[in-house]
Amino acid sequence: MLKKKEIQVEDILLSLFARIEEVEERVKAYIFLDKEKILKEAKQERKKDLSFEIPVSVKDNICVENEPTRCASRILEGFKPPYDATVIKRLRQVGAILFGKTNMDEFAFGSSTETSAYQITRNPWNLEYVPGGSSGGSAAAVAADEAILALGSDTGGSIRQPAALCGIVGFKPTYGRVSRYGLIAFGSSLEQIGTLSKDVRDSALLLQVIAGFDEQDSTSSPLPVPDYLKYLEKGIKGFRIGIPEEYFISGLDKGVKERIEEAIKVFEGLGAKCTRVHLPHSKYALAVYYIIAPAEASSNLLRFDGVEYGLRKEEKDLFRMYEKTREEGFGKEAKRRIILGTYVLSKGYYEQYYSRAEKVRRLIIEDFRKVFEECDLLLAPTSPTPAWKIGEKIDNPLQMYLSDIFTIPANLAGIPAISVPCGFSEGLPVGLQILGRSFEEEKVLQAAYAYEQSTDWHRQRAKI
């Protein structure tokens, strides 16, 4: 419709603003939104390709030039990056309109968006519940119709899990598919920028813009990016789909289990061949993740020391300044992870923890490699439970960490994985996770689209 000029981008923006006016006070998805600036930019003569003149909301850990980018942390108070992340550059080039910064767990440390230093975001399906995290702001904004598309980042499930809990689509691409340049790092070897949208097609469109080699990210892949839209409607007849036994553990919510089993039937109905498979090292994934991710985080967060930018607590002595700044700048969960990461990298513990975790990580990768010799895709729940009440797990980090148990393996292995809505458990959305081989995003999208088109879960809207 946009292309045919049946509607103007300004109209879309205004209707989004109206919706935000209506519900944002309750949802609290955004931590920065400059409506005037957005309108001004949209009206500006943009001499670029306007093939993607769509508003895109951006998670607060992705750098947007001269806009607050704080990772929802006090320590980055006042920080405005002097540069655009590569994904932002690419979006601007095709005419996208950057639509505010969404709330998140501080530095993406969390699964509920409750660790944000600024506000608590609520699940549009039930405002007493968490939206999931860490990209909870992006997920809630899309689910509450306060955003059309959003960018998130996924280090251990931070796109897929909130997408599942908010009843939308969330896609984490293969490690190296999307440039990380400008994504404020948490777990460098694990994370990818990805998409949050109402349906699979929108995610495919957004991914098409942001994917591809970037010479500024040495870990980005030079492999060509296929035309994802071309694959969407190809169907999944003859696809071999694995159902990993290890993902159907005892802690799995009954409603979630039923929805996934129903989804498997839908896949079979579409002509896919589903078989039970094993990923024997999955049970170590959470432990491995909670060594590697905090280790990398503890190093990545060293730069927040009050010297160059962000918060600084003036003290006479340099090291006191460091201590004070970090003490006041970081929240509880950030401190927990920094301490954990520092510990596992320390002399005498490195071999015991970090080194061993890397070894087990290779076994997990090997599990996937073997399974993908016989399967094109894997199906699993995204999260073991639907959303939980705000405050319910915040004081129990282990409980909180467990909510990422099904999403973490894809990050450790670097493979692409999507979460699509697959129904409800006691009125709260449930997500189905589809995992694919590295750099086979098109197959994941193809299967997700086929499933989505034969159900109508993605058309259900939160009544807010």
Binding site: Y181, L183, S218, L302, R303, V307, Y309, F319, T342, L345
Partner: protein, 471 residues
């Protein structure tokens, strides 16, 4: 009591690449603070490193020149610590797998050569400390020797030799005063036969001679401690160049744990045989080889060959001169004795020399034809360097052409003989020295232009004739 000294050197070299090691900022010195920076070298959140392949190539070059084993897989690690000159809170370095290991330089083992990034520079003012990040991200090579250097003098030689190699392969300016080469040392003294002693680290030296002096001071200090029955404390000491002593560094509160781990933002780089072969082909002849060739090809003594090949530019200069004036030893003598002493006296370096081999060999040809004396030649050379004029021009302007005309000289000799009867008599009585005095008088009369050998000849003839006439 006999002692043995063990010295190890840790050198940091700034590579002379055009851009920094992990971003495209130019490597430029003397610019205003924080102008040669970007999000990457400032360590801004979200920025990522991209390896400068030129830095890797230069590192491989040095490893080859030092005969190191070269790692096939190049990995980087993070060295984590807080300091304001370190924008990311970690330095990208190499820990578990340095580029080069097991090398050799002047018979000294090289333990490892690794690539890393430089930090920024702190500037302390009365109002507080400031940071300049222009230097942050300049590629550095760390070269660690085994503790096999036996004397401070040998440590100095090691540094000279390393500098020489680096200049030959064009990887660094190696200027310690300007900080493009930094050197820390460790030294332990022990009773002969007792193996390594207690290691003391020395920092804060800012010249090669400084390194030598600091080591010498420390060697003596440790020997004194041992001789008096004491024990050397393991510590880091700072060289105080003004007082010419080492002092213990204020001890850090606790030992640093750098928590090294593999840099996740950089992939593994592979060094192929092909790449090594290609770099080998591009390598110039190294000083050691060139020295041997100079001895062979130009029949130069060891001393000359060694001195001439230390600096590539000097060796190139020498070879060009020999092409133009094929008397190697004469060229060598003039370079070593005259040009070098001129440069030393004026505290200049070879690259500052404004004298082309073409013009220099013109002077050598004039000297060969004995148109001017050797002493005159020296003066002319100095003037050539100072004024950039050609030798001929200077000689013409100053009327320096040597007088070799016997008739003209005979007149002067006659006058001198008449004026100095005592000396003539002395010489006749066998006092050879008196003749030299008479030659000197002739030189004075001719303002130094007389050909001394011809003057001597005429003097001897005339005095002899006189004696015969008298008897």
């Amino acid at each position: 009591m006999k002692f043995k000294t063990f010295i190890g050197l840790e050198v940091h070299l700034q590579l002379n690449t055009r851009s920094k090691i992990f971003c495209s900022c130019p490597v430029r010195f003397g610019t205003s603070p924080n102008t040669q920076t970007c999000p990457v070298c400032l360590g801004l959140p979200g920025s990522l490193p991209v390896l400068n392949k030129e830095a890797l190539k230069k590192a491989v070059k040095l490893c080859l020149a030092l005969k190191c084993q070269i790692s096939k897989e190049i990995r980087f690690d993070r060295k984590n610590y807080f300091y304001p000159d370190l924008p990311k809170g970690y330095q990208i370095s190499q820990y578990s797998q340095p580029i080069g290991t097991n090398g050799r330089l002047k018979g000294i083992g090289i333990r490892r050569v690794h690539l890393e990034e430089d930090a920024g520079k702190l500037i302390h003012t009365s109002e507080g400390s400031l940071v300049d990040y222009n230097r942050a991200g300049i590629p550095l090579l760390e070269i660690v020797s085994e503790p096999e250097i036996a004397t401070p003098q040998q440590a100095y030689e090691y540094l000279i030799c390393l500098k020489s190699i680096c200049e030959y392969i064009d990887i660094s300016d190696c200027n310690m005063e300007e900080g493009s080469l930094r050197c820390d040392a460790n030294i332990s003294v022990a009773k002969e036969g007792e193996g390594l002693g207690t290691k003391v680290e020395l920092k804060n030296m800012n010249s090669f001679h400084g390194v030598e002096r600091a080591l010498r001071y420390e060697q003596t200090r440790q020997e004194k401690v041992l001789r008096s029955g004491g024990e050397v404390v393991q510590e880091t000491r700072l060289w105080d160049a003004q007082r010419q002593i080492t002092l213990p560094m204020r001890s850090k509160e606790e030992a640093n744990d750098y928590r090294y781990f593999p840099e996740p933002d950089l992939p593994i780089f592979f060094i192929s045989e092909q790449m090594i072969e290609q770099i080998k082909e591009e390598m110039p002849e190294l000083p050691e080889k060139r020295r041997e060739r100079f001895k062979r090809e130009y029949a130069l003594p060891e001393y000359d060959a060694d001195l001439l090949t230390r600096e590539k530019e000097m060796a190139d200069y020498f070879e060009r001169c020999v092409e133009l004036f094929p008397q190697p030893k004469t060229v060598s003598n003039w370079i070593m004795r005259d040009i070098l002493s001129y440069l030393n006296a004026h505290k200049k370096e070879w690259k500052d020399l404004c004298l082309s081999p073409e013009r220099f060999s013109e002077l050598l040809r004039i000297l060969e034809r004995k148109e001017i004396s050797i002493n005159m030649g020296r003066e002319v050379l100095t003037e050539m360097i100072n004024t950039h004029k050609r030798a001929e021009e200077i000689i013409r302007e100053r009327g320096l052409l040597q007088v070799s005309d016997e008739k003209k000289l005979a007149e002067v000799v006659e006058r001198v003989i008449k004026a100095n009867p005592r000396s003539v008599e002395d010489f006749s009585r066998g006092k050879e020295k008196a003749l030299m005095f008479l030659v000197g008088q002739v030189m004075r009369e001719t303002k130094g232009r007389a050909n001394a050998q011809i003057v001597q000849k005429i003097l001897r003839e005339r005095i002899k004739r006189k004696e015969e006439g008298l008897s």
